[in-house]
Amino acid sequence: MAQQAITEYHAEAQDTTYNTSTGLSNRKLLMWAFLASDVMFFGTFIATYLVYRNRSLVGPYPENVLDIPITTISTFVLLMSSLAMVLALHYVREGAKGPGRFWIAMTAFLGLVFIIFQVVEFSTFVNEGLTPRTNLFGTTFFILTGFHGAHVTIGVMWLLMLLYGSFKGTLRSDNSLDLEIAGLYWHFVDIVWIVIFTVVYLVTANDGAPPGAPPFIHGG
């Protein structure tokens, strides 16, 4: 009895078998391959940020501009967008159109809120004198977080297209793979931010002027 249950369970878990050389969906496999390449893409940027850590010759330095409480809130928003995304997929798979649409819209909305946080943060930094050309901190920080923000922006547009598709009838429970692939992308953006939040914000937020460099004076 138990063995039968396990067998049935594994049969469900095997998902659909596709008529491909691997038996897997080529589209899903392609997304995983893309995410694998993006791991190295962001890994290189984060490593570059750390390599040039404490090497800025002029301010502002991380301790002068990084706002941890605000970034913690934006991190929480992005984490909740991942929850919304996975709930959207759950309900679309079940054929529940209303909840499915609601959670897709919620995911896009929370992504948009995150982007607004980032735009405000960038504007504040520029007002305080930090641009990509100011110092090595500015260059590496803006490139890393800017590329991440671009990924989030693309994800929001993708989600809005899927939301539109759900109203037009092109997103249904029988082709929920479309949403699943978008979800993989969205969750990946989330895990990249989990790393950035810790490594870039929390670990280096107290970095001040390196030895020999002048301290930064606001408005100085």
Binding site: Q14, L35, S37, L50, V51, L79, M85, V203
Partner: protein, 147 residues
Amino acid sequence: MPEDNQTKKLLTHDGNGWWDLPRTHQEQKDPPREGPIGDPWFKQAWDFVTYAGVSHASVRGYLFIAVILSIFTFLEWRLFSIEAFGDSGRNAIMLAMSAVKFTMVVAFFMHLRFERKYYSFIFGAAMALGIGVFLALLLLQRHHGVG
């Protein structure tokens, strides 16, 4: 294709390892002691929050994961302002919590825990390569400097 074909083993669940689905069906009231700790209540509780009986977690499972992610993010923020552990200790704890959050999102939200191992292989290989490049750059900087 023979049953013991290595490629087939790679592409399908074989019932071993952490990434596999729980082997106890939720309708089985008294599961055997097979969890890592050995207590049935732990295994039942774990299955309750992570297993929906299909190839992904349940809604309550997702909510449970989201609560853990939120708590860890809050703790990271609080830890940031505590100086008792020193910089190295604090950074190590924060990086460990970050790794847990990363793993939970990949395993449950990205469904890798419930997927065929081929996807885990692709992502795991990329992670290994990415971390290798990351460490190589840091070591190069430490031993040879930059710029």
